[in-house]
Structure formats: C-alpha cells, structure tokens
Symmetry: C2
Subunit: 494 residues, 2 copies
C-alpha cells in the first residue's frame, strides 16, 4: 500500500511557485461553483502517521480556498453529550451541508486504529468495525457525498528524522507530544495495522489516497490537485446527470394473496371497560420500569407507522400517559426542512437520537423512505432499495448503544379508514386532521400495502422487530402497543 509513497517525492521551489497560483485560482473557482450548485457535500478525511504534515497541509488548503466554507472538525475528546449516544452521532452532527467542504481530522478511522495499536481491541473487533465503516461510507456516497480519504505517510526513517527536527526547534517542540512519541516506538505495528485497515476500506466509492508526507511542497500540491480534480469530475457528472444501475430483481411478484398484512385478523375484541382496566395495569408497570436503576443506562426508541387514521396518535398518548413529560419527547415527522434537505436522509433522525435514559417517540420515522417516498416516487428505486440495509445499520448502532427499539405498524382495513375519515369530518376538533392529501393517499392503498410487506420482511430484525398491530379495534391496539413496550423494556432491564 505504501510502496509508491516511500519513494523520494519532491517538488522544487521554483516549480512550486510557478504552478501553485493556477491551482489556487482553480480551487477557489471550483469551491464557489460547488457552493452555488449545492448539489453535494465533500468530506476530507485526514489520517496518517505522526509528523507527516497533516495539520500543515490542511492549513495550506485553508489559505488557498475560502476558509468560510470549510468546516474543520477536530475535537480531541468526546463530550459528555457525545458519550451518551452512539459513536457515529458526533460525525452526523459534524456533516457539512451540501455545497460545503468538511475536513475531519478526528474521524471514524482514528479510534479503531489507535485502539488496535494499543491492543485495546482484538483483530476480529477491528474487522467488525471496518465492515461498519464500509457500510456507512457506502451510504454517504450513495446519498451523494464526495469522500476523499487521505493517508499521510512517512517511512520509519523519515518519521524519526522529522520528529527529531520538530523537537529540536523551539517553536515546534510543543507539537511533539507523548502520544506521538509512543506511536513512533510502535511504528511497525501501526504500519501493519494501518495497511490492513486501508486495504479493507479501499472501496470503489471511497478509495484511499496515499500522500507521501516528507516534502511539504509535494504534499500540499498533491492534496490540492486531488481535491480539485475530484471536485471537477464530480461536478461535471452531476451536470450531465446519471442514473443508478439496478441489477436486482423486483422485490415482490404477487403470486398468491398471502402476505403478512393479509394474515392479520384486524377485528380483535376488546371493550372500553376492559381496555381501561388493562391500561391502568400496563401503564403502572411501564412507569415502574422507567424508574428502575438500570434504566438510566438504556434508552427507548418507539417508531409508529400506519395508514392515515390508523390510531397512531391515540396509541402514543396511551404510552406517554404512563410517563412523566420530563422523561420523553415525541418527534412528529413531516416534510424535511431546508437544512434537512441539504443532508443525507438519515441525518434528520440522528438529530433526535435520545441520550441514555431518554425516551423518544417517533410519529412516523425513517421508514418514510421505504413507504411514502417509494410509493410517491420521491426517491429513485435504487434509493429506497438500499435503504433497508442502511436502516438496519442505523438501528443496530442504536441498540449497540443500549437502546430498546419497538416498531409498530398499526394496521386497519380500508373500510375502517373510510369510516374514521367520515367520523373525523363530523367532529369539531378532529377536523384538522383530514386533508385532501389523506384522500389521495387512500387511493394508493395497494401500493402502500406492498411497501409495508417488503418493509416488514426486510427490516424486522432480532434486535429491532416489527410489531404488527391489529388496529380496527382501537382499544385492543392501544393495549397491544403498551404491553409490547413494557415487556420489551422489562426484558432488557432484567
């Protein structure tokens, strides 16, 4: 991996002075072009061995380009709010919007590599994380982000000379920290591990770019030129437009009439009085569960999906009725805002990921991607088809951080929906809930049903199963939701 980078790469001063002005002008031009078109965001990942000039080259980029539209993330330690949430939360927070360039020093490669060098994790765990990273980067790339992963390299001898130089100079001595000295001692181990990491994460959509770190002029020019060429290439592709190639078979050919929704008996029996009694019981148990000592190390994420008027709001209120308003929050999902549209689609859900001890209720959710966006054609087939795996990855991260996820599909029949629409039109304060769009959606019932079946098949996992709720009888539905939340939380805490 590092063979070419260890050759003698130099750029002499005369030549540098001659070629840099054009590069700067072009970079700036291209940066403004990107800013104006807002068609994608750019992420520069800066990694490599100590002393290879990472900081210096990024500083030069800041001089060459418009620093106002470069966002640099480099916090040394995780803040408490970050520790309270899955690892990737901090990177989602730091993502630049479309049109801007983000520079990540401290990125998703830093921790796994360091931990492996210092033997805090085993090789298998490292590879599990690399797999996670590959999937994450693939998702970013598919969402349109341009990823440039730079690895700044020095040979062992080059590094030794370089750190010696820095230590001997009064003005740069502060930069050589204990961590760096420690890493120098472990050069061979770091090199071997990095090589593994780079090999396993060198994907078509996000390849590594190895930069020889010894000569500053060579290094700066190489990074600048790579950035320029990638930006230009990507902008020109964007202009021509392109279509993703789909080689997959269509998800569902309907041969018979048997599917997970058809197999439900929607008309369950429960009276209001029975419901009241059970409500009291399960709300009491849920309230108790959220006060158990282990609860503060967990979090709860509830997802409510269902056709219009399926009773999501009513079911949510029966859950929140058990909780103190200070504990939970409800996230109603409507059309994304301007800021949200400038980001990958999962970004607006990552914003609301609860901290430990938090209880988040999503009224509609990330599943919009494979439901309304699919049915209405708001995204391409390729987009929603890849979403199943992306969503599973997302939920896996939540669960890995202690979240208990319950996902509910509230299922009503088409007749029941019609009845409820008409009821609502008659009652005064529910009137606001029926819009012309609701009537339009109703016509697409079969398309939605197919989408729901695919969704359940592909995203009902061991760690985050779907619960299909027979909801023609709202009392039955509310109790089933409440009982499910309660039992899953109790199991998690025991």
């Amino acid at each position: 991996m590092f063979e070419s980078a260890e050759l003698e790469h130099r750029l002499d001063r005369q030549k540098y002075i001659r070629i840099v002005p054009k590069l700067r002008a072009d970079l700036l031009d291209t940066q403004y072009d990107l800013l104006e078109k807002k068609s994608f965001q750019v992420l520069l990942l800066i990694n490599g061995v100590e002393g290879a000039g990472k900081g210096e080259t990024v500083k030069v980029l800041h001089q060459w380009m418009d620093t106002r539209h470069l966002n640099t993330l480099a916090s040394d330690a995780l803040t408490e709010e970050e520790l309270q949430r899955p690892t990737m939360w901090r990177f989602w927070r730091a993502l630049p919007p479309r049109g801007k360039i983000g520079i990540l020093f401290d990125n998703w490669y830093s921790e796994p590599i360091l931990q492996r060098v210092y033997k805090a994790i085993r090789s298998a765990e490292l590879h599990r994380r690399l797999e996670e990273i590959n999937r994450f980067e693939e998702m970013l790339a598919q969402e349109g982000a341009l990823l440039l992963k730079f690895w700044f390299h020095l040979s062992k001898e080059q590094q030794r000379r370089r750190l010696k130089d820095l230590s001997q100079n009064k003005e740069t001595r502060w930069r050589v920290t204990d961590l760096e000295r420690g890493l120098q001692k472990r050069y061979d181990r770091l090199r071997a591990i990095s090589e593994q990491v780079l090999e396993h994460t060198n994907t078509a959509n996000a390849p590594w770019i190895i930069v020889s770190g010894e000569d500053a002029r060579f290094r700066n020019f190489a990074v600048g030129k790579t950035l320029l060429d990638s930006l230009r290439k990507r902008l020109s592709i964007q202009e021509r437009g392109w279509h993703a190639r789909i080689s997959a078979a269509p998800l569902r050919e309907r041969v018979d009439n048997i599917d997970v929704l058809q197999s439900l008996n929607l008309d369950q029996r429960m009276t209001k009085a029975e419901c009241s009694e059970l409500l009291e019981k399960w709300q009491g148990r849920l309230a108790l569960a959220t006060r158990r000592p282990g609860y503060n190390d967990r979090s709860v994420v509830l997802v409510f999906e269902g056709m219009d008027a399926a009773g999501k709001g009513g079911a949510i209120r029966r859950v929140t009725g058990a909780l103190d308003p200070r504990q939970y929050y409800v996230v109603p999902i409507a059309a994304p805002t301007e800021e949200e549209r400038m980001q990958p689609y999962l970004w607006r859900f990552w914003r609301h990921v609860p901290r430990k001890g938090g209880f988040a209720i999503f009224d509609r959710s990330w599943y919009g991607r494979v439901l309304v966006e699919r049915v209405e054609g708001f995204c391409t087939d390729a987009d929603w088809m890849r979403a199943y795996a992306e969503i599973n990855d997302f939920e896996e991260q939540l669960v890995g951080h202690g979240a208990v996820i319950c996902k509910f599909w509230l299922s009503i029949s088409s007749d029941e929906q019609l009845k409820r629409f008409r009821d609502r039109e008659r009652t005064r304060f529910k009137r606001f809930k029926i819009t012309p769009e609701d009537w339009r959606n109703r016509k697409k019932w079969p398309a939605y049903e197919a989408a729901v079946c695919d969704m359940v098949d592909r995203t009902s996992t061991d760690i985050a199963p779907w619960t299909l709720v027979e909801a023609n009888n709202k009392y039955y539905a509310r109790i089933k939701v409440l009982r499910t939340v309660c039992e899953r939380l109790e199991t998690a805490l025991s």
Copy 2:
C-alpha cells in the same frame, strides 16, 4: 402576591367532568390553529413550591393537547457542552419554533431562586440576574413569543400535608426527595425570596400567573383555561395585525458632517513588504497566545462588518493564518434558513457560540439587524431600535462567560469600493463575488453610513468595543485587525 392563591380553591368533581371536555376540544383546536399559522411560539414556564402539582398538571396538559407539538425541557443537571457556554445557551437551544409550545420546568428562574435560598448568592447578585431575566423576556416578547409564567403555590400547612400524603403512599414515596424535604424546612425563606422574584419580574409582557396548587381539578382547569385564553387572545391580535408604538426621537438628525466614519483617515500607508514583516510578527504572537495555559478557559469571538469589498475575507484569512484549522471556525452569515426564520433573530447566532477554548469568526453577524435589516426595511423601526440593547445584553453574556470579543468595521471610501468592484470583475476567480445586489447596495451608501455611526455609538462598550479599521490600504487594515485581536487576547490572558 400569594394572598388569593392561599384561599380555599376547589372545583368539585361533577362540575369538572362537565366543563373539561369543552376546554380540551378548544385547547386542541387552538393548538392546531397555532400550528397552522406558525405566527409565534409559546413558552410555559413552570415554577413554584414543591408538592404543588407542577408535574401532574403538565401531564394533564399533555393528555388534553397534542403531545407531538409540546416540547418539554427538564434536564436536572447541566451537560458539559452547556457548562462550556453562557447560561442562557441551553434555553436558546430548547426554544420551540413558531407554531409550537415549549414547557420549561427547569428554566431561568430555577437556579437564581435556589441559589439565593441556599445563600450561594447575595441579594444584590439575585437582583442583577432578575434584571437580566427581565431584559431577556422583554426581548422574547418583542420577538413575538408568548410567555406564560406559572407559579404553583401552596401555603406552609398545605405543603406539609401534601408531602406527608406523598410519603405515606407506597407509589408516590419516591417522589419526595431530599431536596424537597430541605425546601420544606426552608419554606418561609423560599416564600419570601420567591415573592421578591415574582414582584420584580412581573412585567406587562410576561406577568406571573399564580396557581393555587392544593386542589388538582382547580389547578388543572385554571392552567388549561389560562393557556387557552392567552392563545386565543394572541391569535386574534395577530390576525388583526398591529403596529408597535414608537415614542422615541429619531436617532440621528444630521446637523453637521462630523461623525465617527468621516473622522477616519482612510488612506493609511503601508507597503506589501512592511505588511509581510509585521504579519509574521503578529501571527507568531497570536499563535503563541492561543497556546497559553489560560486560553482554554476563555474563548474568542471576532465580528467582521464592512461595506462589500471592504476586505473582510482577506483580513479574516490573515487571522486564521496564525491558527491551526482545528482551533477555529468561520461562520459566514447569509440569509437565515427556514428553521432560523422560525426563531427570534439572535437564535441563529447563539447556535454558533463557541465553547471554552473555541475561536469563532463571524463574517457578518448579529449587527445585520441594525445595518442591512434597518436600511432595507426588512424589520420595523421598533425592531432595530431595540436591537442595540439586546445585542449589548448578548455580548455581555458572552464576555461574562470568558469570551474576548473584537468587533471590526472595515471602512473604505466609495471610490475605493468602485475600484475594487471593477478589479474583481476583471479577475477570473474573484468574479463570483460581485452580484447585482452589490451594485444595488452601493446606491444606499449614505443610509448605510448613518446606520454604522448609530451602531458604533450604541454598541461600542467597554467589554466589547468596536475597532474602526481604515481599510483603503488593505495591508494596513489586515495588520490593524491582527494586532487588535492579539493585544486584546494577550491582555485578557495576563
């Protein structure tokens, strides 16, 4: 203050059951009305003595209204990210957007009252904070927010009975904490201090509403009814439209030609070579200052304002040239986004307040309110006239938390601007910077000059002074900016 609340207020069960359904329906209706119109946000501040049913009543509100559009803030302890920034940052973060209702248990009254009860602060400090709160609330009200401040009251005897009841019941025992027992012991002191606080913050725009806490039905109905009536009244006023009354004299009658801008000698002398030499000196000093141990307890906030082409970008680059890209961030201010337009105008700047050790550079800033918004008529006269004091309050909070603020007005002559515009049109990669709007703004030069003079007079304070920079000679300007930042930071650190 508490006389009426200590009388026997009761609502009998029969009557409650009869009148609540209508209240619920009306509340829900009104909530949807607010949500649809998005004309203002609502803040419910929930304060009062322990045991007076604050949590229970808020829970009832959640049952009565659509919980999806109620945001409740109640974190017990400050997170690390909050501790790193001025106190009010966490409340700005928690502000609901227009159309929504926020419920703040833990609000700006909680800490001052508790601290005074436990004698952590003196009376003078309490009153200083109340003064700050009054100004903050006045600003929120002027920005359109509807503030409802509820105080839940119990007499000493009522509280004693209530806490005893709670302690004796197995299911509610957990709610009586040590803090609550401690506060019960200090009832008289708490009552006296609360009375003071309420008297001093009982303003026309944000009066206190005292709720007798003993009877749950009375309490719930009283709060719900107050909320409903306030919402309705405010929505109807909003519909009729209204105009702020301005009784102030116009800010500036031009009698002679002497003002702070006219008195500058814009054409200072400095050659490129002189600049290079000084640049190296001051950049070195600035770099050194940001590495001093005390620096991590401070933060730096730079504000750059100036006519188009005044050289803000160039000056900013000379400052950032001294810094590591990992240390600073530049916030370019353009038109507010959709989410930002749903909030008071200072919200979008609070978002970017740096943590301790942070270095934030604003390329244009909150001064847009008294410059472009004033000149272009984007806000009313009343809005920009009150902004001077609001901005001073904002900066005072930053400085109070350790920030060093430097504000630069880069001053060029009209001729110099014209020359630069033409230059830019000729050079390839600067072309993007000239827009038709720039030419339009140029025609309003005198109006901008008047606005600048007012701004400097009214917001140049001891703690956050304006530095007027003679900028026809860009070399001179850059050095003056850099030197000012450096000297102010050095002074702050010594």
